[in-house]
Symmetry: C2
Subunit: 238 residues, 2 copies
């Protein structure tokens, strides 16, 4: 079963016809090297892009060249499903590691919205979870300390990676540099370094790049005030 089908089925059961539509959706995978754009800012794509392996980052560039990463994409994520309806990208998507991606032509996606209402809702839900993730980032950036913010990001990434079989037993590979984490949390790279040290010192995580082991999940969740509801991990008919 494909990665995409597997992931969507974690949210709701799919029929055979729906699985067939998904199987027919994707073009052959291609690779994008770390640092290159998967989707450019302000572009008008004619396909959406599924991230098959690696990590991607949605980002917006500021006038002075600095950037803010607004979400981290992991395997199984559509990085720009919304471009089907937004038409023009409001942000870019960059490969944070070497990645493989597969195009889903907008024509086929649109056909799904015409022929498969239930599958359409499942895809819609995917963009809704993106928005929920954004809201948690806003709450963390606005009202939590840097330490809680970093702890929250680790908890989020662990659960999202676990969902697609990329993490287990509170251990996962996180091949992201501290400058990338800084752009994600809206902090400086120097401060990220200090925060990682703090997490290590307080025995919440073991972090031997690129591997992270969450040694005390409960305390990490407490520090982050993490509540997984927003990831919509449970299976519920839509």
């Amino acid at each position: 079963m494909s990665l995409l089908t597997e992931k969507l089925e974690r949210r709701d059961r799919l029929s055979e016809a729906e699985k067939a539509a998904l199987a027919d959706l994707l073009e052959p995978p291609r690779t994008v090297p770390a640092g290159a754009d998967i989707v450019s800012e302000h572009s008008r794509p004619h396909h959406s892009t599924l991230l098959a392996t690696g990590f991607a980052g949605r980002y917006v560039t500021l006038a002075d060249g600095r950037r803010q990463i607004t979400q981290i994409g992991v395997a199984g994520d559509f990085v720009d499903l919304h471009s089907l309806l937004m038409k023009q990208m409001d942000h870019g998507v960059v490969a944070l590691t070497d990645v493989t991606v597969a195009n889903a032509p907008h024509g086929k996606l649109r056909k799904i919205t015409e022929d498969h209402p239930h599958l359409t809702r499942v895809l819609w839900l995917d963009t809704i979870v993106d928005a929920a993730i954004h809201r948690q980032w806003i709450a963390a950036m606005g009202r939590r300390t840097g330490l809680a913010q970093l702890a929250h990001l680790l908890a989020e990434l662990y659960l999202r990676l676990e969902l697609v079989g990329q993490a287990r037993d509170h251990v996962f590979e996180l091949p992201l540099s501290q400058p990338v984490l800084a752009d994600s949390l809206g902090l400086s790279a120097v401060h990220i370094s200090r925060l990682v040290g703090e997490l290590r010192d307080s025995r919440l995580v073991e972090w031997t790049h690129p591997f992270v082991r969450i040694t005390d999940w409960d305390r990490l969740v407490a520090v982050a005030e993490f509540d997984a509801t927003y990831l919509r991990l449970q299976c519920d008919p839509v």
Copy 2:
């Protein structure tokens, strides 16, 4: 024509059948007083709620009781359209002023997704614009100064209010207190007061509560690094 139809038609033309489905969607309006929840955190609504008049705020509550507002809803916004598919709310929605709202039962919304693929896409687009707004807030909170953040919020609200006829000639009514703005921007109320003073002193806005006049739109946009692409204001077939 109803407020909802009018607003959605700014994004794409609707057929008569679609307008009829929308006309049949909403229950009679009800009022909610300022300060009361329109939708509670973690609830499982059986209808989505359209904001007909007034201002609403999506918020998440932190362990110590403080809150972060993650989006400000204006007339014409579905404040919890995503509850159709999320099932459980990942946040609450509070009335920031006295408001009137109308329920859209999930049964009827679901029927729209079965019978009206195009209208479904238009509604989907509405949740996608919400996500885009979230991303701009993240960028502002992470990488912009408080002044730019406040300027950005004013520009966003002005354009969104203009879209539904609630603002014109760079003047609009903003009946939100500084503590509410503080919870929205992730700053303290004291700091908001100083920032408002700064905006006034630099002759960017005249702000005689509750009315805001943007006296120099171009400079405000420059200070905020505001780019309206993300609001998807242009009409484009989906």
